[in-house]
Amino acid sequence: MRGIGRVLVAVYGVLALAAVGRSFVQIASKFDEAPLAYALSALAAVVYVVATVALIRSGRGWYRVAWLTIAFEFAGVIVVGGLSIVEPSLFPHDTVWSRFGHGYLFIPLVLPVLGMWWLATHRPVPAEREADAA
């Protein structure tokens, strides 16, 4: 991952840090209040970390992992974000995806779109060409 993609990785890293931090605080101090929401927070945090790593690493395997995790995030922010507006009683406690990432400057909504655009325009080179290049 080169060039401006580095900035994408950096923003992913910061979001992963934010999600892990918030999830840690929620689980350490008030997990009993909303186990579902906070478990979801923790899952989202782990997925952000994996996505960050997958964007940094090269190769077809990591490329697939990056697609999976970023698509999962996008689905998460759309589904949870939508439900939290239509049916707020389902998510009385904030998650990273509530109201489309409102608490995180909407970064969770924008980032997966940029990530998928990046992946679509930067396919990994086939194995034999990779060997040639090396």
């Binding site: 080169r2 060039g3 401006i4 580095r6 900035v7 950096a10 923003v11 890293g13 910061v14 840090l17 934010a18 931090g21 918030r22 840690f24 605080v25 350490a28 101090s29 400057l105």
Partner: protein, 122 residues
Amino acid sequence: MIEWFTWVQLAVAVAAGLLCLILGLAGRVPGDLANGSLALVELLLVVQLVVAIAAPAFGNEPTGSVLEFYTYLVGALLLPPAAVFWALLERSRWSTVVLGVAALAVAVMVYRMLQIWTVQQA
């Protein structure tokens, strides 16, 4: 938490962030100015950590969650070294932009810390 100091720190982090973004978008590789501005941001965070540890002894208690406050502070302390490490490793204009992103993220986190200390109810 000393409020005026926190506002100064916030202003420095925003200024460093904008400076690095501008330098990076102008095509500069990370130099002493960009790395130095991040070092200053980190130094102020260390001062903030010392102040936060000492403040309760002087009757200056946080109104909100201490755990959340320190999670932000420790997270913020990690960012500038990580960004500078990256900048030393890869000398491209985008590393300068990454320095700016890190400084702006620190600014957001310092603002959250101020809210937790002064207005959040535990």
